[in-house]
């Protein structure tokens, strides 16, 4: 088991190295002058040259890459050209917001998607099942940014019951500020007993997390449905029923547990989808997280922060996938994680 984990971690390091190299050289090749970005709207001519030297842009790409890698090993992610601050500092500020959003949306996906999948599996070919199918199709087909804007329109304007941007109301942020303990607003306000802020934070997270969850939710419904249907056709289910075990027990103890195995595998992918979707969702809902930071970095070809965020996303994805694989091995005792079965 330990060997497996070590091997997986080494693999992650290789992935990160490839990601860094690719991103670095892509942005080096992209036609855009970071010095101009640093300077701002109306720089004086001499200023640009000065900045270019300061940022080391007068050196060839491979030299810059070497310096960047050297810094990376030391833990220095460079300085953002757009914000003029160390990338590490920027990332620290924003990553908890994205994690909060991603986790909440995963929770929603799982606790709505899986039961819904099970529900439609046990009601095959009924109107409920067809509705479920349409819902899944919508989930994968609808563009996430459109969905976000529609939610804003529907719940923010037409019904006017939910806030449409930010993590917490502006006024409350000022009158009842939340002290940062974990960086997760909901947890922090809960810990500090700041009920006003807690309510605001909970209301604010509803729309963005639903938007983000929608695609993976639909995906999970489909996967769960087919997994449950397949398991229900298995021999051991028929045997259990023949033994007279109650319908409920058969469905939820024997069938579901086995059906969840492929679903758990998919969770890793669904989480990666959440991170990717966060770029758009955070921009629409002005959620101050890594997604929005990544978006601004892309638009401005701010390559240090671009690589920084990509690295963070890569690390998170790899970690989640590793956890999911371990979870998978844990759920299904038949799967042994050892040298001979390494794959």
């Amino acid at each position: 088991m330990a060997g497996y984990i070590i091997r997986r971690v080494l693999f992650v390091v290789v992935v990160l190295f490839v990601v860094t190299t690719l991103t670095f050289f892509l942005s080096a090749v992209a036609p855009s002058d970071p010095a101009l970005l640093w300077a701002g709207p109306r720089p004086k001519a001499g200023q640009i040259e000065k900045i270019r030297k300061q940022l080391g842009l007068d050196k060839p790409a491979y030299v810059r890459y070497y310096h960047y890698l050297a810094g990376l090993i030391r833990g220095d992610l460079g300085t953002s050209i757009r914000t003029h601050k160390p990338v590490k500092e920027d990332l620290k500020k924003y990553y908890m917001a994205t994690l909060e959003l991603a986790v909440v949306s995963m929770v929603l996906s799982v606790f709505i998607g899986i039961p819904l999948g099970v529900f439609t599996a046990f009601r095959r070919e009924t109107p409920a099942d067809h509705a479920g199918r349409v819902f899944s199709l919508l989930g994968v087909a609808l563009p996430i940014f459109w969905l976000g804007m529609m939610f804003q329109l529907l719940f923010g304007i037409v019904f006017d019951i939910l806030p449409i941007n930010g993590r917490v109301s502006n006024i409350i942020r000022f009158t009842n500020p939340v002290e940062t303990r974990t960086g997760v607003l909901i947890l922090d306000s809960l810990i500090m007993g700041n009920w006003v802020a807690l309510k605001s934070a909970l209301l604010h997270i509803i729309l963005p997390s639903f938007t983000l969850a929608f695609a993976s939710l639909a995906y999970l419904v489909r996967i769960t449905r087919s997994a449950v249907i397949e398991v229900m056709g298995e021999n051991y289910i028929r045997t259990a029923k023949a033994f007279g075990i109650s319908d409920g027990l058969v469905k939820y103890k024997y069938a579901l547990k086995n059906a969840l195995i492929p679903v758990v595998t998919v969770l890793g992918i669904a989480f990666a989808m959440s991170l990717a979707g966060s770029i758009l969702v955070e921009s629409i809902f002005d959620w101050p997280g890594l997604g929005r930071y990544m978006w601004q970095s892309i638009i401005n070809n701010d390559f240090p922060s671009l690589i920084g965020v990509t690295l963070v996303f890569a690390v998170i994805c790899c970690t989640v996938n590793l956890l999911v694989d371990l979870l998978y091995a844990f759920i299904d005792r038949r799967v042994k994680v050892n040298k001979s079965q390494e794959g």
Binding site: A30, P31, S32, D33, L36, L37, G40, P41, R42, K44, A45, G46, Q47, T83, H84, K93, M149, Q152, L153, G156, I157, D160, P163, I164, N165, G166, R167, S169, N170, I171, I172, R173, F174, T175, N176, W195, V196, L198, K199, S200, L202, S283, I284, F285, D286, P288, R292, Y293, W295
Partner: protein, 515 residues
Amino acid sequence: MSKILRRGFITLLIAFYICGLAPIAAAKIQNLITVYMYEMKHWDPHIATGDEARVLHNIYETLVIYDDGKLKPKLATSWKQTNDGREWTFTLRKGVKFHNGESFNAVAAKYSLDRVRKMGDGPSWMFEPINEVKVVDEFTIKMICKDPTAVDLIMSSYYGAYMMPPRLTEEKGSDWFQAGNAVGTGPYMLVSYEKDVQTVLKKFDDYWGGWESNQFDLAIYKPVEEAVTAIQLLKRGEMDMIEKVPVNSVPALLSNPDIVAVYSDSVVNEFYNFHMQKPPTDDINVRRAICHAVDLDGLVDNLVGKSGIKGTAPLPVGMFGHNPDLKPFEYNLEKAKQLMAKSKYAEQWRKGELEITVSQWSGITKSYAVYIQSALKKLGIKVVVDTTLWPASEDMFKDKKRCPQMTIQSWWADYATPSGWLKGIWFEDEKLGWNWAYYANPAYEKLINEAMYLEAVDLDKAVSKYKQAQQMLWDDVVMMPLADRRHTVFMRKHIKGFRHLPIYNGAYWIYNLHK
């Protein structure tokens, strides 16, 4: 669900509801305004040259402000110059305090003006003509320049002319301010700055201008990434003033009874430069032909709408010195074709081989480019719309060989002077880097330099020289004006007192606003 669960759930719901009631009370106590915010790259007022000034000018103040064609006193109550325009004496206002308690006086003024020049950053170039700032007595300073200079205009600048507290600034240094701190003499103090989230300004009780009861106590500046979200926030009342509204969304927005649009003159204009040293636009007949081939009225009506008026000169109509007598190019395709036949590229034109590149950087400028493309198609000139985005495009424009034949440019005033355009753009001096027309005319440059000296001594003579210079640009067909932008703000109708001062582009004088 069991009874306990259900009861617990209901209790939670009630608790949830009660929690929410407190802040609504808080919001009613204070007069609050929420406005749209642009990114703050620099908080140090002697470095900032961009949208930061929109926020900074509520916190910091200058000696004078330019309003309605006149200079009005702010931190200076009166000023005079010597006859040759080289020495300026300013009398400063008494009883003014900085937010940290320091007093504003001649020492503070000298410190601030020395600092901006010494730092040599962003806006410092405006202050280069000033050689020395002397403290005459506690509330009088004198500025000495080598050449006649319109120092009063410079002191009204939107950038760099702000007064800073000497003791605190020396102690903390620029980095502290850049991190998101601000201490000035203005009506609002900075309470908190959370990047990408919000900036909160609170009223400065000891402000020298005094306070009325219906003014705003608190101003929240909020950045919003998407225009659509900003519009929704305005509709909900969560935001009181926004700007970035796409032209097509305007009618729907204005149909809402709670929202009004306020259009004001600005000193922002948009125009195309013609590359004077690249074929085929190096031939004046071709340039004239292009001007006759584009229906500018149609362009402005369709693409600009109410947010601008057709451009009529190199300067926008809101800028003093604007020449209103320049003869516009009438839309006449026949005349355009005749001019093309006269040009030295007539042969290639007839064969349909002429091609020019038009630049754009997004949104509306892309629409302009496409409009030009279809207009010139009728003339028989092929247009390639360049797709290089900023900042990569700037590299391209500064390279004479790679710069497109028509480059779109948007310009605004750093302070109230036509020289901002006329010298800032069309001088041959490569160092300035904005001359995408590659215009090289020593007679023109001599005229502008003379006008700038005259600004200090005889404004009318200066204006007549500026007008002559514009006529030169017009005769040489150096540029094609598109639109003089009208500054547009969409706001909740309960906000009163909004007046946009053109030189201070995009500034909301929160002090002037009230319910």
